[in-house]
């Protein structure tokens, strides 16, 4: 791990005093945060705190109203998500950015289509696209019936898995995930957490948004808490125990109560899936410690 150790001093992606206004709405005010290669920065905060606005600014969807954006220590200004993607910054958006009428493989490669053939007549390499889509989905534990199926007919979790598999496939330097586990089954949520750890090992910087502290804590190195458009807390894992993180997140106490409720429900109903959740998270935490 010596190469990562030297790299961790450098910040892969950083914003300083970033503000974003929509007309008279102040969505973000003087937000500073960063992610190092091989680390996971978790963005936490209440609904409407500005998390999605922040990551959309990082991925080139929005332009900052004020403040600095640095990539590998250099000031950058992205005019479109295409430019951010070209730098290896891939994002799973909260709304997933999927086209319902298009097939899974067309969606998977939309904007980054592999081509073959000589220049003026370069074709979309469709066979390759279908193969990769099937493989990447299989890695997520989702065995798609038919890559030609329109995304609009997939289940919510399947659709989310396509978006995640796509970002993981294209995120060469930075992977940004906006509530990726929101509609996932226990197994797939576990896979996402495992992906995050794998990306970490490959030296990719990960920015992970979630409302679930039990998902955030096992994988996170760094916790940035947003409140009403401003950073209200910035902690390393050593600085903050899980219990404190849970209670700091707005509604955290409710979440904990809910998870206890689920756990007792799992025991009562002998529900293996619910029980597996605890197991999976524990396993991920175990991976991380070694």
């Amino acid at each position: 791990m010596s190469d990562t150790a030297t790299l961790t001093d450098g910040r892969l992606l950083e914003v300083r005093d970033l503000s974003k206004y929509f007309g008279n709405v102040i969505a973000l005010q003087d937000v500073s945060m960063f992610v190092r290669p091989g680390e996971v920065t978790c963005l936490l905060g209440d609904n409407g705190a500005g998390k999605s606005t922040l990551i959309k600014t990082l991925s080139g969807v929005h332009k900052p109203s004020a403040g600095e954006y640095l990539f590998e220590g250099e000031l950058v200004e992205f005019n479109s998500p295409r430019e951010a993607l070209a730098m290896g910054i891939a994002t799973v958006y909260q709304d997933l950015a999927m086209i319902p009428l298009m097939s899974i493989w067309r969606n998977f490669f939309l904007g980054s289509e592999p081509t073959k053939g000589v220049p003026p007549i370069r074709r979309f390499d469709i066979d390759h696209a279908k193969d990769v889509t099937r493989e990447e989905m299989a890695k997520m534990g989702i065995d798609i019936r038919d890559p030609d199926q329109p995304v609009g007919t997939l289940s919510g979790g399947e659709r989310q898995s396509v978006a995640i598999a796509r970002a993981v496939y294209f995120g060469a330097r930075v992977l940004i995930l906006d509530e990726p586990t929101a509609s996932l089954g226990v197994k797939q949520a576990g896979v996402v957490l495992k992906y995050i750890l794998q990306a970490k090992k490959r030296g990719i910087g990960v920015i992970f948004i979630t409302h679930n502290p039990h998902h955030a804590y096992p994988v996170g190195d760094h916790f940035v808490i947003l409140r009403r458009g401003q950073v209200s807390g910035d902690y390393t894992k050593e600085e903050i125990p899980l219990e404190q993180l849970v209670s700091m997140m707005a509604g955290g106490a409710d979440l904990e109560a809910l998870s206890h409720e689920l756990q007792s429900a799992a025991v009562e109903e002998h529900d293996e899936a619910l029980a597996a959740l605890a197991h999976d998270v524990e396993e991920v935490g175990g991976d991380h410690r070694e």
């Binding site: 950015a97 298009m102 939309l110 904007g111």
Partner: protein
Amino acid sequence: MTETDRKEVEETRQEAAPADERVRQVGLGARLAGKPAIGAVLAVIIVWVLFAVVAFDNNFVSMATTAAILNRAAPLGILAVAVALLMIGGEFDLSVGSVLGFSGMAIMVLVSPSAAGGLALPLGLALLIALGLAVLAGFLNGVLVQTTKLPSFIITLGGLFVFRGLAIAIPRTMTNRTQLGGFDDIPGSGAVTDVFGASIGLGGANFDISILWWVAFAVSAALVLGRTRFGNWIFGVGGDQDASRNVGVPVSGLKVALFIFTAFAAFSVALIQVSGTGTADSLRGTLIELQAIIAAVVGGVLLTGGYGSVVGAALGALVFSMVQQGIIVTGIDGDWFQVFVGGILVLAVIFNNAIRKRAQRR
């Protein structure tokens, strides 16, 4: 990837390899129903059979009628192909008919002798300038739609009046006329006519060379749409513009390119008509923008974008001209034509909608 991951992947792959138990075999019919062009194929067959029966005694099934149908379908088909790409990309262009009329007049004004009030430019240069003007018209449409974020329907409705107005006003000011002839007298026009305006005798009937251009437009546009990165972007922006932009599709550039392509198609049809008839008319192409939209919709293109087929649109133009020609040979009063066209449009939309819903339910 760890060893266990790899094993997992292997396992899932092996599970996937034999026929998936969650997929049932569906019949050929159901699979065809999933293709957007199926409605147009059926419409072509039904309309042809209908007239072949009703108008059999009027020689509907003949070389002459077939040639008349195809000759009529070709220019509309070329426009319909371009309009279909644009509509799949989520936009409308109501100005194509006017750009068509404008391009034809531009060619004739540029090449006409000074005595007739023209600019007497060499033919090649004149064609290049007219093409440039058409491309500029498409570029303006696209840039205005992209910068104002207004519906293209409104922007190009403006274009419809502006370019028709220019097609009338400029020639009238310069030449005092709105119809200009004499293309065949221009040096070099023979070669242009050979490529764009000629017809080929076959079995006692004359087939316009533009039929080949229609096929060429349809085939190349179908390849671009189905098999290139650009085609994937067209489906994407038509389906959801913001989502496409977020995953890296250069939305603005793509849309401007599509508007330029429809204008290019309008120019091509203008060139075909000018070289075929030897004349230009300020009013040429009037209402053809709506006919092209009808052809595209009959061809399975979704009005809301993101779905459709250019081959379907090309066939939609064929349906349109079969109805037109069928009415002529049957001797039904031509006034009834619009009633038929309107009926076909509504039927096609209902049919395509039902088919698409069924295909998606599967």
